[in-house]
């Protein structure tokens, strides 16, 4: 399990009304040994109503493949502005993705849900591979994925 150094997102990824405070949050996803090309991962948040709220990270650089991250693509219409400045490399089989970013306090315990869509070339698309509510209590607890992600957790 080699951790992939990810760029530190210095500014809050999500600009929400009433934003007052933010705290650093570390997201960690360990990938299974699914034996294929590097996985594209879209990390984003929906609100209590299930509506798209914003993107946190995009792992994978070629926009032509983004439509395979179908829930994210559906929510954003493939809008590249949503991930401007928060893209990185795709994540190889068996590797780890770690991102540290400043997350607004208002996102915690307010019904927001973090999603990860995953896709791998010539393999099945896995939209919403991870769906986990953002709660203070849930921090540090590993959640299993369906196809490509062995487990995911966020910590404050």
């Amino acid at each position: 399990m080699n951790p992939i150094p990810a760029a530190l997102a210095l500014t809050t990824a999500l600009t929400l009304p009433g934003l007052a405070l933010a705290r650093p949050v570390t997201l960690t996803a360990n990938l299974k040994d699914y034996g294929g090309e590097g996985a594209y991962l879209a990390v984003y948040v929906t609100d209590a109503q299930g509506a798209y709220a914003g993107s946190l990270w995009m792992a994978g650089g070629k926009s032509k493949y983004y439509e395979h991250l179908s829930d994210w693509y559906r929510a954003t219409g493939g809008d590249m502005a949503q991930i401007a400045g928060i893209t990185g490399a795709s994540v190889g089989s068996g590797r780890q993705l770690t991102i540290t970013l400043d997350l607004a306090d208002t996102l915690m315990d307010a019904g927001y849900v973090l999603h990860i869509d995953a896709a791998v070339e010539d393999m099945r698309d896995s939209p919403s591979e991870i769906t986990v509510p953002l709660t203070t209590a849930g921090a540090g607890q590993a959640v299993p994925g369906r196809r490509y992600i062995a487990d995911f957790s966020y910590s404050m």
């Binding site: 559906r74 493939g78 099945r124």
Partner: protein, 736 residues
């Protein structure tokens, strides 16, 4: 220019291209394997709706159905909570095997398109594809030049094995390599988003019916979409009423309502996208298995061409000698300009340079392309040694010379001598040298001496020209140039048969072992190359650098090297050869003599020889396994003394290799020469010639002249002359 364009991308990219080509060749086998193992293709006209119904019948949790360009259908579903995938038999909807790509194939794919690296690797591979494209195009031009024009593109080749192999493979593989490299570049451009992008997936509709549960069979669009057009069908997420079916076809993609089946949104693929899909399918062989295999076979030629190309380049580099005392253009009294293609003409130039320098001259040698008459301030003569490339074209080192000469206001004042190098068996023998001489005459450039030629690197031709050149300068000039002599191999005598001792004319048939030759030697043209009876063996006697040439009486298919030698009075080489005992060795090399051998076809062959001249003729008969009608006229001294090959001739006649043998013994009971034997057979010879027979003569100069005169008499009634037959290639001589 073209040659440079071929050489450097080739040398730089050789290793990269070898990796790409080998991995590509291996990958090309997978679609074929797939095709063999695949379930039967979907029945004609099968709709996507019906296919989806069949698959859902087997796998109710199916998320997505995909169809590859090869026609393979894959379903993605769940077994309990575990994601699963299977290759589907469209006739039943049942999975027939796992859908995973084999790990080896995945590894090869990553190697092939990105050298196991990321985008850097992809860029390197795209660079390789660009190099391959340049190499293919420049190679096409070079092949056309080498063989003498586009219409002769598939003409037989001559020259060393490495060069021949390079061109033979190139001619077969170039179409596939062009296709692979162009499609690869297109795909690379697509990957890096350099092509105009299509609209992509349409925006997901804001409003859907909110109903769920419609079966695929009830959706008109799916019923109207044949499986042949399907790319993928994604089912709505169970329990999500806001989701929809996502359909991708070869024409476009869109969303279908899961409650009422209406087409919610659609966007057509752009022309570029459709082209990209087609190119991907063809490049990978998924669209056309046979094309894929052909591309793979073409790719297999790349490593061989990389290796042989390197060998050719090294040989050409080695072939260009270093010149000692090369004077500046302004100081030289003799300006020696060289137009060389493979480098062999430079060898001659170096010999001439050295001889002129030794005779007190100040010589400036340079490629013909550097022709700059204004700089030749002290020159007394300009010498041009010019090879010809293919069908009369200028060699690389002479590009632009004719144009520059034509553009001169007036020709240089110092006189010019042109010496052409070439091969008489090519249609445009010394074509480039002739063009130079003609243009020089038109420009009024005074000639130091008439244009002359050197056929197939003949040292004799060159020495003769040197003497003539020396005469114009008032100095004796002996040019001894042996282009291939230093590459001698050791031949071991395995047997000898002696004749002629009674006649004070010791003669022997010497048989040497055929030396083994490694592949590396073959590629470099080292060792004893492929030879046939009638080719020449150059023997280097001890104590002399000048080789003596003997006609070969065997081909390498016979498995030995055989020559006939008669002791010459005071002859250094023949004396050493006749003293040779089995187990001892000589130093020798091969010189081709392709004109002196029976022509193609089934026409009869008349062989006329005297003394040791019977050697190559015996070799032709020995090689005549096809039983072509060969009639031998053999003149020698005495049946008991020097009747070379007497036993073999009897055996070959019995085997049908020799149709008839007519002997003429000059010291027998009834002395006569071979000319007399011919005259006695006049009617038969005339009939044979009338039926298209070819005549091959081997022997001393006097004998050959006598035979020619006799045949002229014999053929006169039929209105034919030996000269006519010579012009048509039906009368060839090997005279010593």
């Amino acid at each position: 220019m073209i040659r440079t364009l071929h050489r450097w991308p080739g040398l730089i990219a050789a290793l990269l291209l070898t990796v790409i080509a080998l991995s590509g060749a291996l990958l090309s086998a997978y679609p074929a394997l797939d095709a063999v193992q695949a379930p039967p293709a979907a029945e004609a006209g099968l709709s996507t709706a019906e296919l989806a119904t069949r698959i859902l019948g087997r796998y109710p949790s199916t998320e997505q159905i995909r169809r590859a360009p090869s026609g393979r259908i894959t379903a993605y579903y769940y077994e309990g909570d575990t994601p699963a995938a299977a290759t589907i038999d469209p006739a039943t909807g049942a999975g027939v095997r796992a859908a995973d790509t084999p790990a080896v194939q995945r590894w090869l794919t990553r190697l092939h398109r990105a050298l196991l690296l990321g985008d850097g690797g992809r860029i390197a591979v795209a660079g390789g594809a660009g190099a391959m494209l340049i190499l293919s195009l420049s190679g096409l031009v070079l092949v056309a030049r080498r063989v003498g024009g586009w219409r002769r593109f598939f003409a037989p080749l001559r020259g060393r094995l490495a060069g021949r192999l390079h061109v033979e493979i190139a001619r077969l593989a170039v179409a596939g390599l062009l296709f692979s490299s162009v499609t690869a570049l297109w795909m690379a451009a697509s990957t890096f988003a350099l092509l105009p992008e299509g609209p992509g997936a349409p925006r997901f509709p804001d409003v859907v019916s909110g109903q769920t549960g419609l079966a695929p069979a009830a959706i008109a669009t799916l019923r109207d979409t044949p499986v042949a057009d399907l790319v993928s069908l994604t089912f709505p997420l169970p329990g999500d009423a806001s989701d929809a079916f996502t359909l991708k076809t070869r024409l476009g993609e869109g969303y279908l309502d899961q409650g009422n089946g209406t087409l919610l949104a659609w966007s057509d693929l752009s022309l570029t996208d459709r082209l990209t899909e087609t190119i991907y399918a063809l490049h990978t062989g998924q669209g056309l298995v046979v094309l894929g295999l052909l591309l793979g076979l073409s790719a297999l030629g790349v490593p061989v061409m990389a290796g042989t190309g390197l060998v050719v380049w090294l040989a050409a580099r080695r072939g260009r000698p270093r010149l000692r005392h090369n004077a500046g253009a302004a100081q030289a009294d003799t300006v020696l300009l060289v137009a060389s293609e493979g480098g062999s003409t430079w060898g001659f130039a170096a010999t001439l340079h050295a001889a002129l320098t030794a005779a007190g001259g100040v010589v400036h040698s340079a490629p013909l392309a550097s022709f700059a008459p204004a700089r030749y301030a002290k020159a007394k003569r300009i010498l041009i040694l010019a090879a010809t490339y293919g069908d009369g074209a200028a060699p690389a080192s002479a590009k632009g010379f004719l144009g520059r000469l034509a553009a001169l206001d007036r020709a240089p004042q110092v006189p010019l001598a042109v010496l052409g190098f070439g091969d008489r068996s090519f249609p445009a023998f010394c074509g480039f040298a002739t063009a130079i001489a003609r243009l020089a005459a038109e420009k009024g450039w005074s000639a130091l001496m008439p244009m002359d030629t050197v056929d197939r690197q003949s040292p004799q031709d060159f020495a003769r020209w040197g003497r003539a050149l020396g005469a114009t300068m008032g100095v004796p000039l002996e040019l001894n140039h042996q282009p291939t002599a230093p590459r001698a191999v050791a031949l071991t005598l395995i047997s000898r048969r002696d004749y002629g001792a009674e006649m004070q004319a010791p003669t022997a048939i010497l048989r040497f072992a055929l030396p083994a030759r490694s592949l590396w030697q073959r590629l470099r043209g080292a060792g004893l190359p492929h030879f046939a009876a009638g080719d020449l063996l150059g023997v280097l006697p001890e104590g002399s650098a000048l080789p003596r040439f003997y006609s070969l009486a065997s081909g390498c298919r016979d498995g030995f090297v055989e020559i006939c030698v008669r002791k010459q009075a005071g002859g250094l080489c023949s004396g050493q050869l006749l003293d040779l005992q089995p187990g001892q060795t000589i130093a020798a090399f091969l010189r081709r003599n392709p004109e002196f051998r029976p022509g193609p076809g089934h026409a009869p062959v008349i062989l006329i020889g005297a003394g040791t001249g019977v050697g190559p003729l015996a070799g032709f008969v020995r090689a005549n396994r096809a039983g072509r009608a060969m009639h031998l006229y053999f003149g020698t001294r005495h049946p008991d003394s020097d009747f070379l090959y007497a036993e073999e001739f009897a055996q070959w006649q019995a085997e049908g290799r020799l149709a008839s043998l007519t002997t003429a013994f000059s010291r027998g009971a009834r002395p006569r020469h071979v000319q007399d034997a011919l005259r006695a057979d006049a009617l038969r010879l005339m009939a044979l010639v009338a039926s298209g027979a070819q005549i091959l003569v081997c022997g001393g100069r006097e004998m050959a002249a006598g035979v020619s005169a006799t045949l002229a008499e014999i053929l006169a009634p039929a209105g034919l002359t030996p000269a006519d037959l010579k012009a048509g290639g039906r009368y060839v001589e090997d005279v010593y």
